[in-house]
Amino acid sequence: MTDTRTSAVSVSGLTVGVGAHGPTLVDDLSFEIAAGTVMGIVGESGSGKSVTSLAIAGLLPPSLSVRAGEVRVDGRVTASAGRRRRRGNDRVDIGVIFQDPRAALNPLMPIGAQLRRSLRAAGMNRARAESRSLELLEDVGIADPVRVGQSYPHEISGGMCQRVVIAMVVGAEPSLIIADEPTTGLDLTIQAQILALLHETVTRLGCAVLLITHDLAVAATMCDTMLVLYGGVPVEVGTSAKILTAAEHPYTIRLVAAVNGEVSRGALAIDDGGDLR
């Protein structure tokens, strides 16, 4: 039984690198996410944000390894060994939404079959899985769940694929949802819809969400708290409001400024001694 905790997810000292002695990709990352809130990890390509999400989800490729640190979801250690552990019989600790929704779906299996399969892996019987899968498809805003359920991934749009992925993840009722660039590559209008859907899901499920993105604007709309990552090192963390209006670290300031379009002379002339870390 879990009593109310202030943090659904707590990451401490996460360090990921190439093998045991190769370069370090993520260095001593620590943060917490409260249940029902969305945290965004913002950074450029190469900042280590995707590696972070893979490490937390326990999906690191064999070439990378978690050298130090601990991940706790609902108070239980999950990914400290870089491995996934399925909890109990009907819930999954962590669900992941990847960037390319089409790549996340099996092209030779109908949507409904894939959805039912993941539900049945959680222990649901056939009949229940059938009805629940239709429910889930409706919940993510798909108007004709029966028809979509019988379709194949290549027959539906990218946006709808992402909705299906969200449905699958939600169906597993995770305590933490990691969304790694979930809207990159989708049309702008669809992006907004998907983000709204995610937000609604968070509210309904009460889970925590870790949103990975390079787009500060996206993070601004969705996230309650933000962490800025640069070169594998956490540079600044705080509430969205604070990051956006009262950032302290020079890199963050520049990032925010770039988004806001402020390229005035004074704003960029900050002497940080040449070292951003």
């Binding site: 190769g22 370069p23 450029e44 390509s45 190469g46 490729p61 070439s63 990378l64 070169g231």
Partner: protein
């Protein structure tokens, strides 16, 4: 003024098992060592061995002994000597097949991919038909039609191997042709043929070499098979397929050595080629 933003790009994750994936990985080295070793033995050992063609009826069909390590065949010839004598022949012929198929195939493929249009159509239709035949069957037909002779056997096997080279090279040529640097060259007026050779050809050879090594391995088997059927190399020439053919009649009488050893060498030679092929393929994939 502050330092510009540096974009740290993550280093390419180097797997601890990277050594196995580079182009000169242990598989390739092993295969090359095996073949070179065999060739070396084929060069040196005959000096210490009896004449592979010398018959001695009195000594016929003797089991392996101190005097004849691999025994003697039904004509009294030393099996070891014949097996080793065959090394150079078999390996050279197999290499010839591979090189011939590689050359013809890559040229045709580059032509087809780069020229496009009618040339491409004609070449590909012909190649498709050639590829419709099972390789060994085609080799048999060609060798039979061209006449009795080693050269024709090699030609037959090489012809059967050409289609794959054409397809490989053509695919590469097609993709390279559309790339900007080729377009730029054309705009600058460089002749198409020159572009083909300087840009398309070198970039197409990677998988073609993998295929060439594989063809070498298949050629060993096909040539021996043809010889076994009486096509190409004939007795009394020492060739592994010929030896097995001669030895096959003796199996009934429990004489195994005249067939076993040549076959083992076929296996070794083919494995050598296949190791090179597999090794290089892995080096390119990972």
């Amino acid at each position: 003024m502050t330092a510009p933003l540096v974009h740290p790009t993550p280093p390419k994750p180097k797997s601890p098992r990277r050594a196995r994936s580079s182009r000169l990985n242990p598989l390739v080295i092993g295969g090359v060592a095996l073949l070179v070793g065999m060739l070396a033995v084929g060069f040196i050992a005959p000096h210490f061995l009896p004449d592979p063609l010398a018959t001695a009826a009195a000594d016929a069909s003797q089991p392996p002994s101190a005097e004849h390590w691999f025994g003697t065949d039904r004509y009294g010839r030393d099996v070891l000597a014949r097996t080793i004598d065959a090394i150079q022949l078999d390996l050279t012929l197999a290499l010839a097949c591979a090189i011939a198929a590689f050359t013809v195939g890559t040229v045709l493929g580059t032509l087809a991919g780069f020229m496009g249009g009618v040339v491409d159509e004609i070449i590909m239709r012909f190649i498709d038909i050639l590829a419709a035949f099972p390789a060994f069957v085609l080799a048999i037909l060609v060798a039979f039609a061209l006449g009795d002779g080693v050269v024709f056997a090699v030609a037959g096997v090489a012809l059967a191997a050409v289609p794959e080279f054409v397809r490989l090279t053509r695919a590469r040529a097609l993709s390279i042709r559309r790339q900007d640097f080729v377009l730029a060259s054309r705009v600058l007026g460089v002749r198409a043929l020159v572009i083909a050779w300087t840009h398309v050809a070198p970039n197409s050879t990677g998988p073609a070499i993998v295929q060439a090594a594989f063809v070498g391995g298949s050629a060993i088997l096909y040539l021996a098979g043809l010889a076994f059927l009486g096509v190409g190399v004939h007795p009394p020439q020492a060739e592994w397929g010929v030896m097995i053919s001669e030895g096959s009649a003796e199996i009934v009488r429990g004489i195994w050595w005249s067939s076993l050893f040549p076959g083992l060498f076929i296996l070794l030679a083919a494995v050598g080629f296949h190791l090179i092929s597999d090794g290089m393929a892995r080096g390119q994939h990972d």
